[in-house]
Symmetry: C2
Subunit: 185 residues, 2 copies
């Protein structure tokens, strides 16, 4: 059973170490980790073609995977890394099992309120200071992400890890769900 490790962990200064730790936990649970890695890209290609090559490698890993654990901890703002969001949608559409966690315990609504404001526009709709609607669905992130996970039967793990991308507490709890899912098959 192969588990794709989606998340912004790849951008951390100690990315290799964090992904190795995650992979070790997955191995320890009797599963096979598939971690994205950029090392094998031909550096003689143009930068754009290098990006496409990494996209191809990572999609290939997802095509081989049976499930994904997505790290939805906010990345450079109030929401998840868009690459991770793409991957979660990609796996969901293939009918693969989807699991996810965040290391930020605040609902999306609260994070937006803190960063950009969230006031009722008079119609019952919350809007930020730019007038953009603020989702208020008691979810950890955009409803396509949290709803997409919940509707497929998993509980998105909300772990109070101070928003730290590398914190393994949320990941470990998600892995427990993956093991229970595997054992139920």
């Amino acid at each position: 059973m192969k588990i794709y490790l989606a998340g912004p962990d790849v951008f951390l200064p100690n990315a290799a170490e964090v992904l190795a730790a995650k992979s070790a936990l997955v191995h320890g649970a009797g599963l096979t980790p598939l971690a994205p890695g950029d090392a094998q890209v031909d550096r003689s290609l143009s930068r754009f073609d290098q990006g496409c090559a990494i996209s191809e490698v990572d999609e290939g890993l997802m095509n081989r995977a049976d499930a994904v654990i997505a790290n939805l901890t906010p990345f450079r703002g109030v929401s998840a890394d868009p690459g991770t969001a793409f991957e979660l949608g990609y796996m969901a559409a293939q009918g693969k099992a989807v699991f996810a966690y965040t290391n930020d315990a605040r609902p999306l609504t609260d994070r937006i309120r803190s960063a950009l404001g969230a006031d009722d526009d008079g119609s019952g709709q919350l809007r930020d200071r730019d007038g953009l609607a603020v989702e208020n669905f008691a979810m950890a992130d955009n409803l396509m992400l949290h709803g997409g996970v919940a509707r497929r039967g998993a509980t998105l793990i909300v772990h109070d890890g101070g928003g730290q991308i590398a914190d393994l507490g949320g990941f470990t709890q998600a892995l427990v769900q993956v093991v229970a899912w595997r054992d139920s098959l």
Copy 2:
């Protein structure tokens, strides 16, 4: 031929007007628009269940669509709306045709540099002020998004629309690509 209209347009104060304008352009090209809409959700449900219901409706629209035009204009930060990223991945995984545009002409690397810094860490890797790696692939956004579109044959439209989500210039150019694709079938 049904075209799903993905994007953060749904969060605009004039969302209905913008989506109607997009739908009119799609109709004018002889195609059928499928636009996400939240109006039909049962407000007696819990907020969480309302979010799940919208997720289900929007996935249903995507399941019926033949192609997507994704608005990847930055949303609340340096990157695309994560819901739109999820949807782009969802459509790509189904083998649907994927088209995308952004109304911000700057490459992702430049946006991150402006907002969060981007300095060489001594190894040739750019990192922002938090130490997170800055993608430098001459792409408009995360490589899974831009690479996922380019590898499937479309050109991600980069339109200088001042970063305005509602600007229809990028959308119109993407629609031209959709028509050419439809005519090629």
